[in-house]
């Protein structure tokens, strides 16, 4: 197959042009001042300094907070679902997991749009509450509606890795735990949960990085005044036109996420070595 070696050449050139150079351009915009040309380029760290201003730190903290809440809710709901699914016959498990993944293939924007009418003041959810004798609650354009949107969109990313690690777990370890006198609660926390940890870490990081970088869900469900990191970047590029600051924020976001992913990969490798 030596003949096929040259087949990588087109992609080598293409990926350099369309993946590497854009990253380099973001970096260049982030470390230069506004409105300079290639001839008199001016390096600066002002774009990063600007990010430490209270307005932007608030945005950053709010994104982290919402990301953390979303992760916590997804972890509880998702772990329970993955655990329950893993108790079924293999074929049933496959079908249930398929139905968990199907919504992921459907346009996120369309699903988020659907939540807009579901959660509106006289929407379906409030009508259902009305049947139960509960007065309508204002849900749209609050933290609640944003979190519902985030959880609904990103929950599958928690369920799948946890289910994978639960499904490939050696069931004899659980039996051994019972044989050695542990009760179901002890068995769960000391054996099952610990063995599923690689899946949990994977899910937590995936959901967290998806939540902090989205801008569509907060914009549609949180309204215009709801600003997270993603919205901040969008504003800089689309409405404000400060590409340099926007690039600096993107760079910070990309670095946070790459660090998280490398942590995840390291844990994955450690987990595999222990498993082997």
């Amino acid at each position: 197959m030596r003949h096929f070696k040259n087949l990588v050449r087109p992609y080598l050139v293409w990926s350099f042009l369309i993946i590497v150079i854009p990253l380099f351009l973001i970096f260049m915009y982030a470390v230069t001042t506004n409105g300079n040309s290639l001839i008199n380029i001016q390096f600066t760290l002002d774009n990063f300094k600007k990010f430490i201003e209270p307005v932007y730190i608030t945005v950053f903290m709010k994104s982290i907070k919402l990301g953390a809440i979303t992760v916590a809710i997804c972890l509880i709901l998702g772990y329970a679902l993955a655990f329950i699914i893993s108790k079924f016959k293999e074929k049933t498990q496959d079908i249930l997991i398929l139905f968990v993944t199907v919504p992921m293939w459907i346009n996120m924007l369309l699903r988020t749009y659907a939540w807009m009418s579901l959660l509106s003041d006289n929407g379906v959810v409030n009508s259902l509450l009305g049947f139960l004798g509960i007065d309508p609650i204002k849900m749209m354009y609050t933290d609640f509606s944003v979190i519902v949107g985030l959880v609904c969109n990103f929950l599958p990313f928690m369920i799948i890795p946890i289910h994978t690690s639960l499904a490939k777990m050696d069931k004899s370890l659980i039996e051994a735990s019972y044989d050695l006198g542990a009760n179901p609660v002890q068995t769960f926390f000391k054996v099952i949960f610990k063995l599923s940890l690689p899946g949990v870490v994977n899910g937590v990081i995936m959901v967290f990085l998806l939540s902090i970088s989205t801008f569509v869900i907060p914009k549609l469900l949180g309204g215009g005044q709801f600003v997270l990191i993603g919205n901040l970047i969008e504003n800089q590029f689309i409405s404000v036109g400060d590409w340099n600051f926007g690039s600096a924020v993107s760079l910070i976001l990309a670095i946070i996420i790459l660090v998280l992913i490398s942590v995840m990969k390291k844990l994955d490798i450690d987990g595999m070595q222990k498993g082997a």
Partner: protein, 262 residues
């Protein structure tokens, strides 16, 4: 005790699935509403589907979405498959470089990829519109094709192509008649990913488009500011197409497995 546990399990699964599928179901139901309301169902009608067909702006967005998805899928599947085959034969250092670069768009937040491409196109003075959207879609879908096909290439017997050539096949024949057919499952998986990623994309398209060129996601985004059940009609069609495709592609193999352990 065990029975209540099972009942609780099924109830919990049902509630979770209701959470996932409620928005989809409500979208579909209200697309058949005879009034403009998205909250009260006043009777069955097809008026929003009629409105959809008569809305030339939406129809051109459908055309943009479908044509970009088809063209970018064809190009990225072709490019990705050839790259994956070549990768297994290239030098270690080159392979590591390509695989790492390839991972960047998969791992990077979409918005960062989007602004990177936006800056690239504007600094190269390419006019933003259909072409930039197409190039961007090829850029983000090819990595997924490579990651789907490459594991299958690595699992190939390295002597397979040599055997074909010993038997008189030219390298091109060995590629098309021997290697590609063996890689088919990986190629199809990559194609499906590339198509749905392109068809569903909003973030990247939104940043790289211009001159009024819109795909379905962008037009929905622009229309969400006011109540418009035409979006529901459009959503219903998109949801059903994707839903049926995924179900056929993914469910059939599960049902055919017949207890075979994987």
């Amino acid at each position: 005790m065990k029975k209540t546990g099972k009942a609780f399990s099924i109830l919990y699964i049902f509630l979770c699935f209701a959470f996932f599928y409620l928005p989809i179901l409500v979208t579909i139901i209200f697309s058949f509403n005879s009034s403009k309301s998205l909250t009260h169902f006043s009777g069955f009608s097809m008026r929003w589907y009629k409105a959809l067909l008569e809305n030339s702006e939406i129809m051109s967005a459908v055309y943009v979405s479908v044509s970009i998805a088809v063209i970018s899928t064809v190009i990225s599947t072709f490019l990705g498959t050839l790259t994956a085959i070549g990768l297994s034969r290239s030098r270690h250092i080159l392979r590591e470089w390509i695989l790492n670069v390839n991972n960047i768009p998969i791992m990077n937040p979409e918005i960062v990829t989007a602004i990177g491409l936006m800056i690239l196109f504007s600094s190269m003075k390419i006019e933003k519109g259909y072409l930039t959207m197409l190039l961007a879609h090829i850029a983000f879908s090819t990595p997924y094709v490579i990651t789907s096909v490459y594991p299958k290439v690595r699992a190939l017997d390295p002597n397979l192509a040599n055997a074909a050539m010993d038997l008189g096949a030219t390298p091109a024949q060995a590629l098309w008649k021997v290697i590609i057919p063996v890689l088919k499952p990986g190629i199809y998986a990559g194609m499906l990913l590339a198509f749905t990623m392109s068809f569903d994309d909003f973030v990247i398209s939104y940043f790289v488009t211009g001159n009024g060129v819109m795909n379905i996601s962008i037009i929905v985004y622009n229309m969400t500011k006011r109540t418009n059940p035409t979006i529901n009609a459009l959503s219903t069609i998109v949801i059903l197409v994707i839903f049926i495709t995924i179900l056929v592609v993914k469910l059939v193999p599960i049902l055919n497995k017949r207890g075979k352990k994987v």
